[in-house]
Every structure is written in structure tokens, then in C-alpha cells.
Symmetry: C2
Subunit: 219 residues, 2 copies
DNA sequence: CGGGAAATTGTGCATCCGTATAATAAAGAG
DNA sequence: CTCTTTATTATACGGATGCACAATTTCCCG
């Protein structure tokens, strides 16, 4: 009598995996890791819970995939800002910094998502490797942009500058996302540009020729 | 027949609450929020699970208390570094920055603990208030130390400088804790001092007269 | 237009979660 | 030394969780 099984469509492996990963990220961003249960993930992805184990050997594996996808996506979004920007090294650096401190990178959900995986990064060797790779990749982009400025600094100093600039960006990214109301509109990107500029000894704010000019919001 | 109930000692309310809070923090730091179950917390604190509800109306309330304690403790540890330090404003600022980037503040467990509460901060008004208060308190200390430098800068600029310095410290704190092997010994505090100095336009490294001199580890 | 591989569903299970509450032990008061 | 208070233990309950596995549907291939 209850021959009423749910009808469904077969999807490609890539699509289903991407959907499940995306659903996981959304749920963690919204309600933290504890909200991302297999049932909730499946519901969000429009499938039933059992399917998860058809594509991932365990929930942990899905978790790892979701974290990998998050980290790759974040650096990619930052690097995207470099595509359509002038050739001036200062302009390129300014665009990269600014893009990292504006939506969609500056986003409370992204921070919660990133933070939600923190302890797994500490306890899982594979995730630690992913984190380190993503961190290094982002910092390398930064270091290359800094090196391109052609100031007269020793190579050894570049590494420290990149680490420091990365740190300011990270710090502003976290607090700017969690406490958006604690800052003026545009204050976060402006402070990022000013701080990175100060660390490098140049004036980055003078090289922001974007549509939404951060200088307008300068105090 | 099994008249074998566990023997116990009565403790003061403050002791028990502190023990339960401490156990919660330890567990979250070690295994993330999901490891901090009522049973695990009770076991770590040396009591049985039922007792938690005698001191806290719910597990959420214990969670909130643990977060409050964490945040208060972190700023307190940083401020402690100001007690036994010379009167020079530069020295005091340098000591504060340096202390925030060394153990016990720079600690992977602390970062995991802090990150583990992130999503609760977003979804719980009370925790958000705690976070904002702690963030503001820390930044105010920083801003006062910066103001004491008696450079000739407009008041409006002080706020931005404090936010930026706070951000560098936060960023270095996170990455330095999670990836300790990615940095040279002493590199993190040194970079913190150099960056904060650059943002403020002064040389902080020249004012670090501590036993463990960060200049020794300069590249 | 079958037939067969496999993608997807549905169900059940052991375990763990937070909470409620009754039973008991400890410790101070008189 | 007993009485009273209450801190603490112990047990039970309903619900949720990750996972295993059998049943069913889809869709491609010949």
C-alpha cells in the first residue's frame, strides 16, 4: 500500500558531491559544526541521509572535503581580484587587499565556517596539511605582489612582511565579519590598505582606483 | 546490595563552578565543542553529570560562563604584562604586544577554544555582548598605550591605529598558534612588534628590554 | 524494448546527548 | 548526638546521531 517511494533523478558524481559539500558548508556557517548532521546535510542537498555514505566513506571524509573546498575557494576569490586590474604593482596589491576585506570574502558565515573547523585542523593531520597549504598559497600571492613593488629591500625581509600583512588582513577579516556594526562602512578595507601600506613603507590608499573608492569613507 | 555509592567531598560553590568551567574549556580546547559533553565535563571535573545542573541551569549557561571566563582571562593575561614594566610608553606598549604573542596567550588550545565558540557568539545575543566587551576592552588598553606615546596625531586616527594593531596581533596569534612550526622561534613576537611599530611610525623593537630579547631572533 | 549496473531511498540499530528527578551522603547547627 | 539542609550521586527517558544494509528506482546499453 505504501508503495510510495520518493522519486528522484540520478545526478553526476561531481554534482552530488558538490551539492553535499555546499550543504555542509552552509549548515556549518549558519549553526556551527553541530548543526551539520548527516540528516540535515542530506535534507539541505535534497537527498536522503543514506546517500552520503555512497559518496563519502564517512561523515569525517565529507567534512574534510568541505574544509578543503572552503580554503581553496577563499584564496581563489582573492586571486580573482587580480584578473581585471591594472598593471601597476601598487594597484594590484591594493586590489588584492581590498578584495580580501570586502564581501563575499568578508562574511560572517565564512568566518564561522572557518572557525568551526579549527579544532579538526589541530587534530587531523590531513586537514592540517590542507590548512597549511592554503595559508601558504595565500601568503605566497601576497609575497609576490609585495616583491613586485620593486622597493629596495633584502629578500629576507619579504617573508616577514608577507606574514605581517597576512596577519593584519586575517585579523580585520575576523573582527570585521563578527562585529560588522562596530566599524564604519568601508572602514575595514581602508584600514587594511593603510596598515599594509605602513608595514611596507608605501602609500597604498593612493593606488585604489576602484569604483567603490575606500578613500571616500576615510575619517 | 549494591549500597556502593561513590563517596565525595562537598566543595564551595565557587570551587565547583570554577572546576566545571575549567573542565569545559580544557575539553573544548582539546577536542572542539563536540567533545565537551555534560558527561565528559563532569568526568574531567571529577564529579557526576547530574551536578552540572545543580550549578548551571543548563549546559548553555555553563558554555556561556566558560566563554566569559576565557575572554576575561585573555585580556587579563595581556594586561598583567604591564604591571612589572618600566614607565616608558614605548616599553609598555612593546611589553603588551610581546606578551600577547607568547605563551600562555599564544597557545593552540586557546585558539581552538576561542574558535570553538565563534558560531555561538554569532547566534547568542549574550555571548555576542561578551565578545564585543572583551574585544573593546582589549582594544582600549591598546589605544591608551598608543595615545601615551605622545606622537602628534589627531584623536580620530588613534582609533584606526588601535583597530589595525589589534588586527595584526590577532592574525599573528591565530596563525602562530595553529602552525607553530611554520615560523622561526621568536619570529611571531618580533613581527608583531615590527608591524605595530610600522603602523604607528615608531621603532618598537628598540624598546624591548626584556630577558628574552626578540631581537636575538631577528633574521 | 528488456536487462543489468548502480544511484538512491528507506529502515533499523547501537550509542550518545541533555535533562529531569528520586535517592543518598555529607556537613554544619543546636 | 540527632536533625536539617543541601550538595552530590544515580538512574531513567525521549530524542538525535552516525552508520550499516536491504529494497527499490533510474537510466544506459545492447
Amino acid at each position: 500500500m505504501d508503495n510510495s517511494r520518493r522519486s528522484y533523478r540520478r545526478e553526476s558524481q561531481e554534482t552530488r558531491r558538490a551539492d553535499l559539500i555546499s550543504a555542509t558548508q552552509t549548515l556549518v556557517a549558519e549553526g556551527g559544526p553541530e548543526a551539520a548532521t548527516v540528516r540535515a546535510i542530506a535534507a539541505r542537498a535534497g537527498v536522503t541521509a543514506g546517500l552520503i555514505r555512497h559518496y563519502f566513506q564517512s561523515k569525517d571524509e565529507l567534512t574534510r572535503a568541505a574544509y578543503r573546498s572552503l580554503m581553496d575557494g577563499m584564496t581563489a576569490k582573492g586571486a580573482d581580484a587580480l584578473e581585471s586590474v591594472g598593471a601597476s604593482p601598487e594597484e594590484r596589491l591594493a586590489a588584492f587587499v581590498s578584495a580580501s576585506l570586502r564581501p563575499p570574502v568578508l562574511d560572517a558565515g565564512a568566518v564561522v565556517l572557518w572557525a568551526g573547523y579549527m579544532h579538526k585542523v589541530r587534530n587531523d593531520a590531513e586537514l592540517l596539511a590542507v590548512h597549511e597549504a592554503a595559508y601558504t598559497a595565500y601568503r605566497d600571492i601576497l609575497q609576490r605582489l609585495i616583491a613586485a613593488l620593486k622597493r629596495d629591500v633584502p629578500d629576507a625581509q619579504l617573508r616577514g612582511e608577507a606574514i605581517a600583512c597576512n596577519a593584519v588582513i586575517d585579523g580585520l577579516w575576523v573582527e570585521g565579519s563578527i562585529l560588522p556594526d562596530a566599524f564604519e562602512p568601508g572602514e575595514i578595507p581602508t584600514l587594511g590598505l593603510r596598515s599594509v601600506g605602513a608595514i611596507l613603507g608605501i602609500d597604498l590608499l593612493a593606488h585604489t582606483s576602484m569604483l567603490t573608492d575606500p578613500r571616500k569613507t576615510l575619517a
